[in-house]
Symmetry: C2
């Protein structure tokens, strides 16, 4: 099997593109896919300051690496969730990467849940009687947005890949979650003051491709899934999509990209989003961040945790 581009020995096959690549051509392919994502979805420009959410996993470290190699100004933001050895290992992966790129300029910001919210994510979830993953989501979304806004970044970037997006889309479609369907896209504009613009530059690349990118580019990452358990539902959707992808390469891509195309046709989904949300959003009475309720979900969660500790 030879490289589709340069005819040397290929190291990876990409059935959905009917292609195979050597290490160099594969790295170029990945960079090219990200460049196309950034351009076609109007994510950011050369002058923009980007904050990348890094977890220590393959996707977010690959994203940071790619953005830097493409010449963008990208810093990292890591949330230490306080999940014992898992958080230690993931933090060490992030630090290692950050230290290697530090001489070139990029900084790493860290938020430590045990310090700021007063307990690890597992304990917090227990206090507020909510599933760990949703508690974690609330805190990460909140702190990530806050960091981007307070530190004056132009845009927040996350490492969601094609598999993540296709699985999320399948879940939303199976339940016809129209509100979520409307909002699902690789670029969410800064709809109101206090809400950072959010982008997902890896939506054109699969999980497998990103793992290969890290291995081939010697980026060390934490392989284990979070022990608090990834939503089993998402894993099931990924399994099912992988089954379809095996039978018919390109299924995920057609499914997710086709959806984006459809959204684009019936007017930019982001316009619809921002109009709708702008009328709904106000400032949280407690912290001042944008929210659709009187008090934002982060402040509600923290208030509940405090009552639990007090009572």
């Amino acid at each position: 099997m030879n490289c589709t581009k340069c005819k040397t020995k290929a190291v990876i096959k990409i059935p959905r593109h009917h292609a195979a690549f050597c290490k160099v051509s594969f790295t170029n392919f990945v960079h090219d896919q990200v460049t196309r994502a950034i351009k076609s979805e109007k994510m950011f420009g050369r002058g923009d300051r980007i904050l990348v959410a890094v977890s220590g996993g393959k996707d977010s470290l690959a994203l940071w690496d790619i953005l830097l190699k493409l010449g963008y100004k990208a810093d990292g933001f890591y949330v230490n969730l306080g999940i014992g050895g898992y958080s230690e290992r993931s933090y060490s992966m992030v630090r290692k990467f950050a230290e290697a790129v530090a001489p070139l300029g990029p900084a790493l910001h860290t938020h430590t849940v045990e310090q700021e919210e007063g307990a690890g994510i597992k304990e917090l979830a227990h206090m507020v009687h909510r599933p760990t993953c949703s508690t974690c989501g609330t805190i990460k979304r909140y702190q990530f947005n806050r960091a981007a806004v307070e530190r004056d970044y132009d845009v927040m970037a996350t490492g969601h890949n094609l598999d993540d997006e296709a699985a999320r889309l399948l879940g939303n479609v199976l339940h016809w979650q129209e509100d979520y369907l409307e909002k699902q896209g690789p670029t969410l504009p800064a709809s109101v003051e206090g809400f950072a613009k959010k982008v997902r530059p890896l939506y054109r690349l699969s999980e497998r491709e990103l793992a290969a990118y890290c291995v081939l580019n010697k980026i060390e990452y934490i392989i284990d899934e979070c022990p608090m358990a990834q939503g089993a539902r998402t894993l099931l959707y990924k399994e099912v999509l992988n089954r379809l992808e095996t039978e018919s390469p390109g299924t995920k891509q057609y499914f997710y990209w086709g959806f984006l195309e459809k959204q684009r046709r019936k007017q930019s989904s982001s316009d619809a989003m921002s109009e709708k949300d702008q009328t709904l959003l106000r400032r949280c009475g407690t912290c001042g961040q944008p929210t659709t309720s009187e008090v934002c979900s982060y402040c509600k969660l923290m208030a509940r945790a405090r009552r639990e500790v007090a009572g």
Copy 2:
């Protein structure tokens, strides 16, 4: 496990309804689901003459049986495809059922492809260089519609069940086939003269439930799938949906019914269909049936077959 309705011993569990039923309650449940389908989708009324497409399989024979037991005026229409032993066995199942109900009035009409189109379905497909399933679809749709219109039936009913509809919807959604998505519903009105109204009264019942209905009500049916091979793609979608259903009973139902609900909300899809189609449809230059081209796909297919024989 006891019957949810009458507390006697249950013979079947319906996880998606959190129910279990004895034979009598299950039969009532099936009849009730069909009644709800007929009413909510405005399929037909007591006075209407219904033509049921029967293949000899569980779905279509169950449908005919249910409609008769619910007191509707329903005749059968069987297309003999000329697939050797398979067609013989399926025809004998249909005849057996038809003979049993004949004293009550219902008639069975038969169309024989070998006689009318001049060759069995396999040979015809070969002549026109098209896959057997699509050739078969063209002929069945055409002859079924023609029989309904010429014999003055008010509505044509087919045995498509929840699994069929959910699998079709999944395929359409994975490829965002918007035209097909618009037209997918359990009731397609008689949009123009020459096009019979089409309904799918079994869309609230699963494959498994219909098989159980036949077994419990002693309806003999042909178990084997058509040897010309059911579209492998549909089987794959069914497999994947079954995987999701096992993990989360009700998935298929929420998926398909939720889709119908969504369609209803954004204006009746059938209105959209009929408006759009009415502007597009004209009479076939050859046979006079409604079509969007100058010559309908059935006449094109038959012309091609004739050329093949001549040439």
